[in-house]
Amino acid sequence: MEEKKMIHLVIDDVNVEVEEGTTILSAARKANIDIPTLCFLKDINENGDCRMCVVEVEGRRGLATSCIQKVEEGMVVHTHSKDVVEARKMVLDLTVSNHHRDCLTCIRSGNCELQALAIKYNVQNVKYDGKKTKNVVDDKSPSIVRDFKKCILCRRCVSTCKKVQEIGAIDCTGRGFDSCISTAGDISLNDSNCVFCGQCIESCPTGALHEKDDTEKLWEKLYDKDIIKIAQTAPAVRAGLGEEFGEELGYNSEGKMVTALKRLGFDKVFDTNTGADFTIMEEANEFIDRVQGNKTLPMITSCCPAWVRFAEKNFPDELSHLSSCKSPHQMFGAILKSYYAKKLNVDPSKIFVVSIMPCIAKKYEITRPEMEEDGLRDVDCVITTRELARMIKQKDLDFNSLEESNFDDDIKFSGTTLIKVKDGEIDETYENADEIEEELQELLEEAKENTK
């Protein structure tokens, strides 16, 4: 491999050597010199719009954009000169002047990049006050809330949506001061081709994009003594929840999570993994049916609601490829309100099923029309890992010192009880996994025979 040419430059009196093609920003960070950024998102959004990362390059007119501009041999860079700091302060003054400054009640307070920079650069009063761009909140979708008042037009969400997710539901529209990030025709995200993957929320530096909060609705139910509150948690939640309480990334907090959910008021806490088992079996059945019946192949999973919506919006003629199975938590919800309700001998309308999920598209999924049986929703509420963490904090639970408990095991896979679901109804019950495997093997053999 050809070796890259090395470039030598001086940043704040420090000699730095980096490969040709490196930006000033990454050269500086390599030398442990930090330059503030706001719109920059490495490899995704590199357009130099916000002007926070400007630096002074000796001998050059104006200020250089460090997140984009490449190093040159012999360059002398100042990252915190008077001009530079004044420019950054002005940028912050201006950004703040067009921002809805309700930090006290903002979901991102304490975790907001604009707030952090404003504090760092001592923005203590609002220097310029005037008209604000757009005073609208789009909360029509079940998943995402877009608060235009807090958008700083960094376009990180646009790049993520367009370049990473390749959806292109939002883009920069309008011009000048009236520019805003919007959908085609300024319609609600709910009515657009947005698939509710939620990646835009991840990339947003402020509170302009956030998940729809369902905790208030849930608290109501948790205090209701007349209903049975059942939680099911997706596999990822136990791995992500600890982070919110200072645990290491990936820390498995399954036991504490179950305790916390019980303390919040849930009567039963199940593992969505069980639902996944149902789904796998149901999908296998469907697959065999398709092979045997010479029906549409390949068969594609329908477990991810964002993917299903994507397919519906973009490939409406190809939907027959999608499996007709519900996703694990939906299927589990349906079972809880049918099989399990019967088992407990309660009125299914008295059961309130809550899915705790890592993805906001699940909030949308439970609202889909097919996700109900006899007027009862399969799942009544979805909250995300973050919402769960907030609820635990509201309840003043000391999460880290909670004792550990196990999931409820009235319905469980792997070794005890297994059920085979067909067309949404329980078909057979198996006693152990081996039995299932046997049946699957048989079915597959049969399928092979038929396709010959």
Binding site: G48, D83, M90, T95, D178
Partner: protein, 618 residues
């Protein structure tokens, strides 16, 4: 397809026919009626005039006369303009109904239609176009063919050395020879910033790439500027020829002309010209029998001032929002679709053919030390002769405003001249004797810009003018970077406060700091220069800003909140003219008695001021 010999023949024969267009003293019976078809004259019915002439000529079976459309003559305020050649008789403000009389009297009887002859500022009748003071200090290089040839006839272009420069380049010159000639001429970019043209060409030439492009920036968005439009309308082939030459010099075989869709006439003439050039083999493959290929396409700008910025223009050609790119890399290195791209403005190209034909030495003998050649200005505002002027660099503003422009109308006094449009500044009386070139204008806090030159008389409020330019910038800012997107809006809001008398003294400091900050931190030229109109007026007319803030007074009475239009009881004779003129019936009073203005109804349109014969309203 035409061979070089055929092109020569067409040109020579046509030239004989057209000699009367440039030679006033020809003693022949043949006459040409030239009817201006620039945008100004077109919008006051010049096509109908041309049509009428043709109808009458046909009806009367006249054989020694032809009526022809031409490009702009320059003096737009006198339009629609009709010129009779070879005499160069100049009829102004002609209407379609005047055609009969012009044919009868002038063409048939050889007399002048006196009532249509143009009067100069002093009221003196001017018979010939070249007798007008307006033309005396001008030197036409870029506008040489404007108003002389029919822009929709390539043969007429060939008659005046058309495509001879291209022939010379392809036959006798290497790529480097061409670039050297352009470099030696001292030509600098006429789009505003004044980058040396030859240098730009050499940057593109040295790039090694499979594909390079040549682009013509015809997105003339400066409000009140129409130089480029007039060149495209009056002499489209000269831009096309120069672009082919540029393509040859830098090694590009594809060109784009990016022109505002708001210029339908220019677009149409370009389309016609490109079609003609293609049919003559001047565009396409193996041009003039050489191995050089070059193709040209038109791209329309859809109404965004920022697309005049070269990188925003490239984005727009690529079909995107016209948001500027960060530089470096410069377009010469990475332009259209990442390929090396040469971008020059219309007027810059318009100079190239003349430089090739007449030589760098000739060109560089015109102008000042640092700025060579001529510059075209669109002269407008409070000046007697509104129109297009081309003067050698180094001409003073005073010469342009007073000698060429004929001074300030209505007995008013000169207050400021604005150059460089929304990127430039207001130049006060004290700097009127500055010889115009790139450096001298930026030394007095303005800039050359593309060539808009707006004159303002002493009835204008300079704070209001600054506000006007900021309004423009705010509505034209692309919204990409924070300083320009939010900063210019905040500047405008501060100016509004000042104009409404609601500002405090510290607002002035804030305004200035913000202006300086925006200049430094914005991404592109639009943002970096947007504060200039404010900074220059704050410098030269600071007392007016202070008056608005401290005394809550607008001396020009333009800022409505600080102004009341009142009738002087002493002077009012009750003639009733103001009452009749008032569009909102805000004036009351019996005829013969003193009138009064109802301030709650008055919209300050100032119509009454102009109507009052006794100067009683103010």
């Amino acid at each position: 397809m035409k061979t070089i010999e055929e092109l020569h023949k067409i040109g020579e024969e046509k030239r004989k026919e057209l000699e009367l267009r440039v030679n006033t003293n020809l003693d022949i019976r043949e006459k040409h009626i030239l009817v201006c078809h620039g945008t100004g004259c077109t919008s006051s019915k010049s096509p109908e005039i041309l049509n009428n002439f043709n109808k009458i000529i046909k009806k009367k079976k006249l054989t020694n006369v032809r009526a022809i459309m031409t490009g702009c003559f320059g003096i737009c305020s006198k339009g629609p303009i009709v010129i009779i050649r070879p005499e160069n008789t100049f009829y102004s403000m002609v209407t379609p109904d005047d055609c009969e009389e012009i044919i009868e009297k002038d063409i048939i009887k050889g007399e002048r239609v006196e009532r249509l002859l143009c009067k100069d500022v002093t009221g003196k009748m001017v018979e010939r176009l070249n007798d007008l003071d307006f033309y005396k200090k001008q030197k036409r290089i870029a506008l040489k063919n404007c108003g002389v040839i029919n822009p929709e006839d390539i043969d007429e272009y060939l008659a005046f050395d058309g495509y001879k420069a291209l022939e010379k380049v392809l036959k006798e010159m290497s790529q480097d020879d061409v670039i050297k000639e352009v470099t030696d001429s001292g030509l600098r970019g006429r789009g505003g910033a004044g980058f040396p043209t030859g240098k730009k060409w050499s940057f593109v030439k040295i790039e090694e790439a499979k594909q390079k492009y040549v682009v013509c920036n015809a997105d003339e968005g400066d409000p009140g500027a129409f130089m480029d439009r007039s060149i495209l309308e009056g002499d489209p082939h000269c831009v096309i020829e120069s672009m082919i030459i540029a393509g040859y010099a830098v090694g590009a075989n594809k060109g784009y002309i990016y022109v505002r869709a708001e210029y339908p006439i220019a677009v149409h003439r370009l389309e016609v010209a490109i079609k003609q050039a293609k049919s003559y083999g001047l565009l396409g493959k193996k041009i003039m029998g050489t191995d050089f290929n070059f193709d040209l396409e038109i791209r329309l700008g859809a109404g965004a001032f920022v697309c005049g910025e070269e990188t925003a223009l490239l984005e727009s050609i690529e079909g995107k929002r016209g948001q500027p790119r960060l530089k470096p890399p410069y377009p010469a290195h990475s332009g259209l679709w990442g390929c090396p791209t040469l971008i020059n403005n219309v007027e810059t190209y318009a100079n190239i053919t003349r430089i090739i034909l007449n030589g760098a030495k000739w060109y560089s003998s015109i102008g000042t030390e640092t700025s060579k050649g001529t510059k075209v200005f669109a002269l407008g505002g409070d000046v007697n002769n509104v129109g297009l002027v081309e003067v050698p660099m180094g001409t003073t503003l005073r010469e342009i405003v007073f000698d060429i422009g004929g001074g300030i109308p209505n007995g008013r006094k000169f207050k400021a001249a604005q150059t460089g449009g929304p990127s430039g500044g207001c130049i006060p009386e004290e700097h009127l004797d500055t010889p115009i070139d790139y450096e001298s204008l930026s030394n007095i806090d303005s800039m050359m810009g593309s060539g808009g030159l707006i004159v303002m008389d002493d009835s204008k409020c300079m704070v209001n003018i600054a506000k006007f330019y900021l309004e423009f910038t705010v509505s034209e800012s692309c919204g990409k970077c924070t300083p320009c997107r939010i900063g210019t809006k905040r500047m405008l809001e501060l100016l509004q406060k000042i104009c409404e008398g609601k500002a405090k003294e510290e607002d002035l400091t804030n305004l200035k700091n913000l202006a300086l900050g925006i200049k430094k931190a914005s991404v592109c030229g639009l943002g970096q220069t947007a504060p200039n109109p404010v900074l220059s007026t704050m410098k030269y007319f600071e007392d007016e800003y202070k008056e608005h803030i401290i005394d809550k007074k607008c001396r020009a009475k333009e800022c409505k909140e600080l102004t009341q239009i009142v009738i002087d009881k002493e002077k009012c004779k009750g003639c009733d003219l103001c009452k009749k003129a008032c569009p909102v019936s805000a004036i009351s009073g019996e005829p013969g008695k003193v009138h009064e203005i109802d301030q709650s109804k008055c919209i300050k349109c100032r119509t009454c001021l102009q109507k009052c014969p006794f100067k009683a309203i103010g």
